[in-house]
Amino acid sequence: MAPGGGTPDPWEFPPVRAARLAWLYFRIGAMNELQYRVNFLVYLFQSALALGTGLAVLALVFGRVSELNGWSRPELLAVMGVFTIMGGLIRTVIQPNMTQFMTDVQEGTLDYVLTKPADAQLLVSVRMVAIWQAVDVLSGAVVLAVAVLRLGHGMGLAHALGFAVALLAGAVMIYCFWMMLTTVAFWVVRIDQIVELFQGIYQAGRWPVGVYPGWLKIGLTFLVPIAFAVTVPAEGITARLSGSTLAGAVGLAAALFGLTRWFWRFGLRHYSGASS
């Protein structure tokens, strides 16, 4: 803790400190939620219903055609798996933090966050965790595993790695998208409908973005990065992901993260608090 002089403490290296802080909040949040065990069954049931509906739709579509826009049935099952995993991640860690942040701006309680001796963007991004929503991450992983088995060509280490990197880049982009959207709350205080709006648009990720008409495809790639969140990782699983697409995804994620950081600081400078 002593500033200056001596050997630098490796625990105080900023990224490590940030990760420790995030982990601490994650543990507290998880412990809080783990008190309500019956919720696990409720979310498991919900997840099963959602998967059942998704499978029913796939069955209806593939009762008529043998492939959709070049994607076979097991390949679309893989898309569904990734969609479910990413949706679970969003609802476990991203969405709860963003809604809490919007509430804080509305009620003026954001001041308590800003006065804490840690980076404010980090704090508003890691405070909340809705742990039971992670059930979707598990059920999505099961669907994905079944899809990989059905595909039959197995998965090499390179593909697995490509998938993992693409998934991470996609998650970062969704986080950045949400963060920028909520930062707007500094100017426009009431944006209640945004969660619904995002959930509605996110459903588009159930299908590879290639099926959508041109303008919509562009919107789902660069405006709301659903293509990178779901389709690109799914391409990693189904062996159609090129190195350049992956590199592009990582590059875009990094650029978007930088932009988000800048936008957050810009917004923060305009924030005057609610209690004045």
């Binding site: 019956v38 509906t53 055609v65 209640d192 409908q193 619904e196 709006l197 459903q203 299908w207 099926v211």
Partner: protein, 281 residues
């Protein structure tokens, strides 16, 4: 109230005050909801995502299938799902999830003191809201039509049926979701039940896909349930193909479900109120 129910003057008076209640509540709803038009719009735009996804997928399937699926071309699907957006908006009623708040915060206690059944307030308020919704829907429909080029061949009889059927759908869904919501009087662990209901509705109503695309046994099951009267029938009545006879049976079926819904609401409500112990201030 000293007048006997047979007294014709009293009956007319009751009817008039009921009409008055509806008109006034609807007017309030219109002005309240028009204030929040931006919020309303964002909500409606978010809702458009759902049918657009179905539309894109099924148009793709139709094209891959040689032009059509079960008689629907890409333009036919466009017509179906654009009309869907209006029907979906007509179908927004008091949510069953709202009952927990109503009961827990004791808001129901105030409503119980009023001399009319509380469902009238909900029916009137949401019906008033619909006028704002229809107005806001028109530009959305225009944009969707310009983008997806629906092929719609309809008739005056179909338009007339549709105009009635969307309100029938509204009544049926209002009452059945009220019934579902009232389960909250007995238990607060209702989330899973509601989810199950909404999934059944999604699959068996024509909301997910036109019922003609569903396998025969699914359609048979759906025939015994009210869901189709709230989605599939109103849409089908306007988009077709539909015979005059089917229009009449559809309206008749709606009337039947309205009667069943009203009867069930009356019975369950009476029992539910007995369960209710007021919380609040």
């Amino acid at each position: 109230m000293t007048t006997a129910p047979q007294n014709p003057v009293a009956t007319v008076g009751r009817l008039r005050s009921m009409v008055d209640l509806y008109v006034r509540t609807m007017k309030v709803a219109v002005s309240v909801q028009f204030q929040y038009r931006v919020g309303n719009y964002l909500y409606m735009v978010g809702m458009v995502a759902e049918p657009v996804i179905y539309l894109v997928v099924w148009s793709t399937v139709a094209r891959a299938n040689g032009g059509s699926v079960s008689g629907y071309t890409a333009g036919g699907f466009a017509a179906y799902y654009i009309v869907w957006t209006l029907v979906r908006n007509m179908n927004i009623v008091f949510t069953p999830y709202g009952w927990e708040q109503r009961i827990r915060q004791g808001r129901l206690s105030g409503q119980l003191l009023q001399p009319v059944h509380p469902i009238h307030h909900d029916l009137a308020f949401f019906a008033g809201w619909k006028f704002v919704v229809i107005l806001l829907w028109l530009p959305i429909a225009a944009v969707l039509s310009a983008v997806f080029r629906p092929s719609l061949h309809t008739s005056a009889a179909q338009v007339a049926t549709f105009a009635v059927a969307i309100w029938g759908a509204y009544l049926i869904r209002s009452m059945f979701l009220w019934l579902l919501g009232m389960v909250t009087f007995w238990t607060t662990r209702v989330g899973a039940l509601f989810e199950l209901y909404f999934v059944a509705e999604l699959l068996l109503s024509g909301r997910l896909v036109p019922m003609r695309i569903m396998p025969g046994w699914v359609r048979d099951v759906a025939g015994f349930l009210p869901f189709q009267s709230t989605f599939g029938f109103p849409i089908q009545s306007l988009v077709g193909p539909v015979t005059g006879r089917e229009l009449l049976t559809g309206l008749g079926t709606q009337a039947l479900w309205i009667a069943i819904g009203a009867g069930l609401v009356a019975v369950v409500w009476r029992r539910a109120v007995r369960q209710y112990s007021a919380v609040g201030n």
